[in-house]
Symmetry: C2
Subunit: 253 residues, 2 copies
DNA sequence: AACAACTGGGTACGACGTACGCAACTAGGA
DNA sequence: TCCTAGTTGCGTACGTCGTACCCAGTTGTT
């Protein structure tokens, strides 16, 4: 954010005096995304983006207050690729599955999303659209406060798992080894750990767990289904209403 | 990771030839944490850490292969502050609550943890200890593969919520405003959004939700209890076993 | 025609991580 | 005991980054 303004979304793109601008926020955003996709987030520097557009670094600051704001623009732009429907379908489970899988797809297509420490959920248009869909999907008798918890749980799960998936892939790529060679490389350390006998659960994970041997798709789906089962159990039934939060002071700015 | 080695944990601190080392990994790690706590992660640069120890930047590289490895060391060191018990208590709900709340406490004490999207959960000693405790706590008849999903759900929830909490605090601090003034500053944008009428769920959040008006502690606890309720519903009962994942190829390196 | 508001973009500053090199030091093998 | 190989602390240097500041040129409004 630019300091004196709340967020990039409150700063209009242009007024209408001087020369016609040669570029646009969208154009710059798309260039930045292209670079980040290809060479990583760090590669999307102001100089590099400008160079790709055929201009100088400082020109970009006529369009965007800072690089951080540009990252906000990139994030929201990419959320648009989720192509979330206008309204929930009425089947909450299908809708949440859609959110989870499209989030994963978008993060996999733009791995830098995982590296982007996403601070304040900046309220860009696409983020808002997504929020509407998500909360709307859960609008089946759940109190609004419980929706927060359930959606934080769902997106927390998704983001964590996908982040791990992506970072592992990055690790492999960075090492230049095949996954098998990489595994072999780290095997001595793991067996040393196991030999100490101090880590019985870790041992069971290494020996018994089937999940790590499944395809990433199947891993994701299996876990997601467990999460959705959990959410199902939290939906209100006549005899089991979801508990309301304790009353809060009704102060509103 | 230093490139030719798997991770910092596989690289021993020293061999025993030349002059006696003047510092140690722990010493450097603690200095870095001190700086990051006080002035943020970016402030913990190699130069600054070295200066605080009274030496030159390049000296640090005799102890740590790269700054990224130092970040791994910092993370694991700080996890030690969670003071996780040696073994689960037998009350899974109490144990998971403990993990959630101590994680939150540690992240709040070291806000840079939230900005650290650590690639690959690097298997440091404290991380391993925590894993043992967490998986051990859930070892009440749940298949090991389901534990992954449930724990990813829990830690995903915790990390997401605490990250938001911390980043909002940072935002406020960075703006130099009181939370009230900050709210007032962003009010026009929000009311503009509401006036469009395109965001009915967002409107309900702004108008009806009580959670945002509760103390951060209460917000966290309310959501955490919802998550734990969910986990409770996933625990096996005689008539409702947790589904195993589909079989995977039994290949093991 | 004059002016104010804007434009693209060059230069410069103070950071950053870290490759490289070197003198000083210390341990194991002779 | 002395050599020498390995390691120490650390200064210098390189290429990168975000962006503050400046200025000449362009344009809508008066």
């Amino acid at each position: 954010m630019s300091g004196d303004d709340v967020s990039i979304w409150a700063v209009p793109e242009r007024q209408g005096r001087g020369p016609r601008p040669a570029y646009s926020r969208t154009q710059i955003t798309e260039a930045a995304i292209r670079i980040a996709d290809a060479d990583g987030l760090d590669a999307a520097s102001m100089r590099r983006i400008a160079a790709d557009l055929g201009t100088g670094a400082m020109s970009l600051y006529r369009y965007v207050p800072s690089r951080d704001d540009l990252l906000d623009l990139m994030t929201d732009h990419v959320l648009g690729e989720m192509n979330v429907p206008d309204r929930p379908s009425g089947d909450w489970r299908a809708d949440l599955t859609l959110i989870a899988e499209r989030t994963r797809a978008v993060w996999r297509a733009h791995p830098w999303m995982a590296a982007l420490h996403r601070p304040r959920a900046s309220l860009g248009p696409q983020r808002l659209r997504l929020m509407e869909f998500a909360f709307g999907a859960l609008d089946v008798g759940v109190p609004i406060d419980a929706m927060f918890a359930l959606l934080d749980m769902l997106t927390g799960y998704v983001e964590r798992v996908v982040r791990d998936e992506i970072e592992w892939k990055r690790e492999i790529a960075h090492s230049g080894l095949t996954p098998e060679r990489w595994m072999a490389r780290s095997a001595p350390y793991v067996t040393d750990l196991l030999k100490t006998g101090d880590y019985p659960m870790f041992e069971r994970i290494v020996m018994d767990a089937q999940l790590p041997h499944m395809s990433p798709d199947d891993q994701f789906r299996y876990g997601l289904d467990r999460v959705l089962d959990c959410i199902a159990s939290a939906l209100p039934t006549p005899d089991h209403p979801t508990p309301d939060p304790p009353d809060a002071l009704p102060d509103r700015p």
